[in-house]
Amino acid sequence: MKISKTDRQPLLMCSSLTLRLPSNGPDTAAKAILNEVSFTMERGETLAVVGESGSGKSTLGLCLLGLLPKGLVPFVDGEIIFDRTNLIGLDEPSWRRLRGARISIIFQEPMTSLNPVMPIGKQIVEAIRVHRLMSKAAAWDEALALLKRVRIPDPEAKMYAYPGQLSGGQRQRVMIAMALSNSPDLLIADEPTTALDVTIQAEIITLLKQLRNDTGMALLFVTHDLTLVRSIADRVLVMQNGAVVEQGPANEVMQTPKHDYTRYLLACRPSGSKQPIPSGSPELLGVKNLTVNYTRSSSLFSKRSKTTALEGVNLSVKAGQTLGIVGESGSGKSTLARAILQLVSYDGQIRFAGQPVCKVASPGFIAFRKQVQVVFQDPYGALSPRMTIGEFIAEPLRAHFPELSQNERRHRVAELLEEIGLGRADMHRYPHSFSGGQRQRIAIARALVMNPQMLILDEPTSALDVSVQLQVLKLLRRLQEQHNLTYLLITHDLAVVSAMADEVLVLKDGREVERGATRQIMDDPQQEYTRRLVSAAMAV
């Protein structure tokens, strides 16, 4: 790289970078999205920017590329010196010479970040040719070399593929190839692995590390995940509410954090393990040889085609137990939940409390519905926006216990709200006034209102910030002990499973890979796939 010995100037120097939105009314204070952010980056250095949602870490990344929404630009203050040039107030043509040439970015969303109607090869060629005078053929060869470098399988064919034909991990590799196409001095990676499965996540991190070492570029790694920091960063910047609360060498910050918030974030990883249930507890849920096929129907003229989402899955959960269902996307774990809830049709046997589950709409089926409730992943989509949370929680009571008076229903709702850590008065508020974690608690309260024996938790903490995630897990643990609940915990996060579950079932492509006690699976996995999953979760 072009580093001369005398060049003492850091590559990037941010001083007092501030983005403060003016107050829009006397009641609201001015809101600082970025507050006096100062740091420097040397050439070839990796800096991790860590924070929860709303910390301003992604906004910081966008500032460095001049990608802020136009309306926000006038409110930016401070200095960003990149290689002796102040980027604040830079004109568009100068920005264009920097973007993609000297500073590149990889975004979080591999599914939407590529142009869906342009072949991969063309998109990379375009990134090369906008900054360098080069024939199409030469750029094509270089794009192909880049795809090989990011180790995409069958790169020649992928040049002609559209993004929709690639997996999430492959698309992220394409993004990386594109970002590297002009050998930038600085690569900003904005949560590049958050949307990916754990095994893919580990592969992408390894690739980024290797490319960084090969090229000598500086890497600004934006993440919410402190565990990733240790494996990739030289230095760490911890952000909270737009301000830097702590920065320093990665090892130092991770081992002896100085700021309370850093300590808090570090302590937020799920820990401990579940208390074993008394032996001889009866089986509550038994699933035998469960197979689910999705058929694509079927207009008047087309044949039906079949996709097998689950094949021959067996499981057994005892009362008071937590069974963790682990798998990557496409493994069939959510389909399993839907089948048990009788939301999709299936072949095989499902027994609940010793009885076969009744047909939908029979009287026995309604009793089953009361006993098994579900909490979904997305706390933003799962609550009806036009209902107060009191109405929302009480709705199952109205349906199943019409004899209850309004006061009795209210009483039950208040009881539940207090149990999940909200106040009685909150029942009159609407979902939008609650945070993500609070909404997930409300969804849990809704599931509990019928006093069920079993909760199916479908990725209950995946959409939440790390600190909130821990609170929700603690709540789930407490509720389980108090009410002797049985959980079916579906997740991709092995740390969550390890802290919460008695037993684990690992799924891949709709089939069981491995099943056993949590400790045994985590410490001594028998199957190759489980080993990869566990080591990926430990490595990052």
């Binding site: 990608l67 920005w95 973007r99 969303e109 590529l114 142009n115 109607v117 990134a127």
Partner: protein, 313 residues
């Protein structure tokens, strides 16, 4: 393989659609009160009976239907019941000249103008042009063509004498312009609005942000990355747009006294000229079905994510 299968499927569906439309309109038309020979001068009962026998109107309605369908399969639309000595085919052939010219010019005008204006508006969403378009297209949608057409005629033809007040003449732009504008204008408004909303949406999408982050100039970002996905809703609207233009031309042909399909349709319906109405219905239905097919075809060609005949789940 998948594509040919898709095509055959669509053609079969189109034939069924047309057959159903023909059947329904056949019975609706004949069940309406009155008949082709009840109007105009009074005829002796014997003459009327002869006429009815000649056109098979004395038979039960279902038999009439079977005879009509049999003739139709032989590409025979029958004689007109009102225009003496003219076959429906010859009436349609003469009417198509004007209607097709108006229709094709109108849809091209609506597309070109609508997309261009919509793009300009989307690029500066809070600009004067953008707000103007939202409001003007509202007017374009709200003002029906039977008001718009006479207004245009009054100002541009009667006052300014730029164009013909009515008639088809030699079919040159002097006669063509006003009917085309009257039919196209509401569609320009709708397409511009559609294009504006769709392009604004696409411009806010992640892949456009990626394109900017590559260092591409704004014009390249717009044309190469935003335009194509933004056109998909407009493509979907092509079929309803054509249907609207055809129905619009029914009114406009009346106002400008142009002997097109629309005018024959209205006259035929008023005179209970069963065969002529059926002929125009067949022409209209075929056009609309054809345009629906074309729209789907263009969509498949334009969007690589639409994979014909392949399961994607």
């Amino acid at each position: 393989m998948g594509f040919i299968y898709f095509l055959c499927k669509r053609i079969l569906a189109a034939i069924i659609t047309i057959a159903v439309t023909i059947t329904v309109s056949f019975f609706l038309m004949r069940l309406a009160p009155g008949g082709p020979f009840d109007l105009g001068r009074i005829m002796p009962p014997q003459v009327q009976a002869n006429l009815k026998r000649h056109f098979h109107l004395d038979l039960p309605i279902f038999d009439q239907y079977l005879i009509y369908m049999r003739d139709l399969l032989h590409a025979d639309l029958g004689p007109s019941m009102v225009y003496v000595d003219r076959s429906v085919s010859s009436i349609l052939a003469s009417g198509l000249v004007a209607t097709l010219q108006i229709g094709i010019c109108a849809i091209l005008l609506a597309l070109v103008l609508g997309i261009a204006v919509g793009m300009l508006a989307a690029v500066s969403p809070n600009g004067l042009l953008s707000r103007l378009i939202v409001n003007l297209s509202m007017i374009g949608v709200l003002v029906p063509s039977f008001i718009l057409a006479p207004l245009l005629s009054l100002i541009l033809a009667f006052q300014l004498r730029w164009f013909a007040i009515a008639g088809w003449g030699d079919g040159s732009w002097y006669y063509l312009t006003l009917p085309v504008i009257a039919v196209a204008l509401p569609q320009v408004g709708i397409i511009a609005k559609l294009m504006r909303a769709s392009l604004m949406d696409v411009l806010g999408q992640m892949h456009v942000r990626t394109a900017i982050a590559k260092g591409l100039p704004p014009a390249t970002v717009l044309v190469k990355h935003a335009l194509r996905p933004a056109l998909f809703p407009v493509i979907s609207y092509m079929a309803p747009a054509m249907a609207n233009i055809l129905t619009g031309s029914v009114v406009v042909e009346q106002v400008f006294a142009i002997d097109g399909i629309g005018r024959y349709f209205v006259q035929g319906a008023l005179n209970r000229d069963y065969t002529t109405v059926m002929g125009t219905v067949i022409v209209y239905t075929s056009f609309i079905v054809l345009f629906n097919m074309l729209t789907d075809l263009v969509y498949v060609l334009a969007d690589p994510r639409v994979q014909v005949g392949v399961s994607n789940d």
